[in-house]
Amino acid sequence: MALDLDEFHGMFFEESFEALDDMETGLVNLDVNADPVDLDAINTIFRGAHSVKGGAGMFGFTEVAGFTHVMETLLDKIRDGAMRLSQPTVDAFLQAVDCLREMLRATQAGETVMSAHVEQTQRSLESILAAGDSEPVKAAEVDAPVSASTESPADGDPQVQLDTQRWSISFKPHAEMLATANDPLIILQELSLLGDLSVTVDMASIPGLGELESEKIYLGWQMELSTNVTRDEIVTVFEWVEGECDLEIKELSAGRDQGAKSSSEYSDIEVAKTADPAPPAGADKQKPAVPARATNSDAGSIRVGIDKVDSVINLVGELVITQSMLSRFGEDEGFLDFEGLRQGLVQLDRNTRELQQTVMQIRMLPISFSFNRFPRLVRDISGQLNKKIDLVIEGDQTELDKTVLEKIGDPLMHLVRNSLDHGIEMPEDRLAAGKSEVGVLKLNAYHSGGNIVIEVGDDGQGLPRAKLLQKARDRGLVGANEELSNDEIHHLIFHPGFSTATNVSEISGRGVGMDVVRRNIQDLGGHVELQSEEGAGCTFRIRLPLTLAILDGQLLRVGKEIFVISLVSIVESLQVTLDNVNAIAGRAELFRLRDEYIPIVRMNELFGIESDCTELEKGLLVVVESDGIQVGLFIDDLLGQQQVVIKSLETNFRQTDGLSGATILGDGTVALIIDVPGLINKCLANALDNGRSLARTAA
């Protein structure tokens, strides 16, 4: 049978990358000085290497298998106490994990796996291994590299043709051989497949009837086998019962006695029994109660492709639309008499929503998937910078949508690097400032409303306000006499191209600025804010929607078109009185909302739609906010609020300015979703074009 095992490759890679992550976490947390060695931790790391090796061997990725074998051997020695753990060894292991990740990626991509780097890493592991051997702690035996088992000769067609030889085989199982469920009959059958077999039963050891025990074996067999297979192949048949029987194999033709295996003991034989290992009568058939296992929460989980989950989510999305269409029909007066139908529709409504919520849950993953890479990063970077840093992680089981999770990784990485590089001071500076020399970097996540909040905070020096302001003035972003609030100064770091580091360091200053971080977060429908106190530290707070698939939307009308706007971005809606509107240069309009002046965006003009009211006091102003900046959207009317399934416009079209997607309404028509942060950014850019630095300038 030729089975195609390729379909298991994808799963192997995914699993191996996870195993590597686990190994990395284990290594980073490993206490080198613990005595005795933390066996649990070593075992976890060992298992990672072991399972990668096992899989790689099965799938024929020999380089990966060879590499992991060296790691495994080394770990085995540490586990057995044959080698001592040291910081250089842990570092070498971490490098090996990186290297292995590279190798797996290359294998996955079908590229060349072996590189100078790989060979060098493997050599350094081998040299640690060799050095360990000379240590007189305890001699340990190195496993031979795994090789594929030889082909079974069970089909009676051995590959190597030998002359037929006659063998005398004496096989006398020990009385307890049945305890490992090795059935002598199976062994005899297997032997008979090797050639002509004649068998004589030796019943000499059968004890008296009264002493017979049903679970013991008292028979022996004397056999003659004519076969053309080698002696080794005959021995292989008895491989599993070695030590559980007396076995003598002699080559008859040659008449030589070849290495009989002797047994140390002969059991006391009391009663005869057939080789049939039937369970003894009265065997306890009761099922023992299943013990409750707290650690077993992931038991019974299955792994499915995200595309399958997404297609279910899409189908449910369509179901929701169909359901709301049906509901509308159901409200029709003509159906008033059909009570059963109406009840059914109500139930359909409830079930559909539950189904939708449940399905969305499937995509949710704990943020630990993202947080887990930071212990290693913090360890490496604090080493490079000679800083002392304690990483505190909280709320790492907080769940969010897989897509959001994947996309938030880079912004988080940037914020963490920033904190490590610019936030937390050198130990001596900290001591001088009266702080503990160990800085604290804290990652936290929690749910709040329909959002997830992720915090990256440190107890470092905080943002240097004077320096920021000076720089902004130097660059003409802020007027020489313009005074800014602390918050406004802090927000300057999100300005494109604004970096406070005096020299670009390897750790954080790789060209990507905080403006990109903010943009990435906005693209996910979230926003970032920060709190900083000079000398005490800085905390970034990212607020993100739990999912990118569904939005709590406010429907609104401009002309004949219906648009959707995210409810969370709406501050308030109000009617305009012309007294509060100021026109600037006959063009831009500002609305005075209490003490603030906010720009008015006429949606009909922006979108080129013929609207039924162009006079401000006849329509509505929806005040929306993104990153602390407010804009008033002038629209015709507000309609209902509803949860909508977000569809990308890019799938079949392209990204479009001012829009973040589309959705399908209950009547089956498409409504476009307004991109509030994008709109505000555009509005700001226009405002800057108009010669004003920020939209907050009073008229």
Binding site: E15, S51, S149, E151, S152, A154, D284, N296
Partner: protein, 120 residues
């Protein structure tokens, strides 16, 4: 056709072994570690146990030992899937009551042949 309990903490390995056994016409019950396997085996009698050695929570050798202590599993064949070529591990398995072992990596046909042989 037999009912086989396959145990491995590696999902890819477990699914592959299950796939091979199913292609060979067997019914497969699977478990991701010794603890789960023990639960399954207690609730659902199987004709053969095929287990990995290195697993979290409960390893394969302990699993074999625990299963052998159950009356229903006294004479059920139990095979270990192992990459450990050292005789030490094999002997440890034997002492726990394992019937035999299959060394990874293996050919699918080889796995089926061995399983079918043990099932008699």
């Amino acid at each position: 056709m037999a009912k086989i309990l396959a145990v491995d903490d590696s999902t890819s390995m477990l699914q592959m072994v299950s796939f091979i056994l199913q292609e060979g016409g067997h019914e497969v019950v699977d478990a991701c570690d010794g603890v789960e396997a023990l639960d399954r085996a207690r609730n659902e009698p199987v004709d053969l146990v095929l287990t990995d050695v290195n697993m979290p929570n409960m390893d394969g050798i302990t699993l074999v030992k625990e299963l052998r202590a159950l009356a229903t599993y006294k004479f059920i064949p139990m095979l270990m899937l192992t990459t450990e070529s050292s005789t030490e591990k094999k002997q440890e398995g034997k002492a726990a009551g394992a019937t035999g072992w299959i060394v990874k990596p293996f050919e699918p046909d080889r796995l089926l042949a061995t399983v079918n042989k043990v099932l008699g």
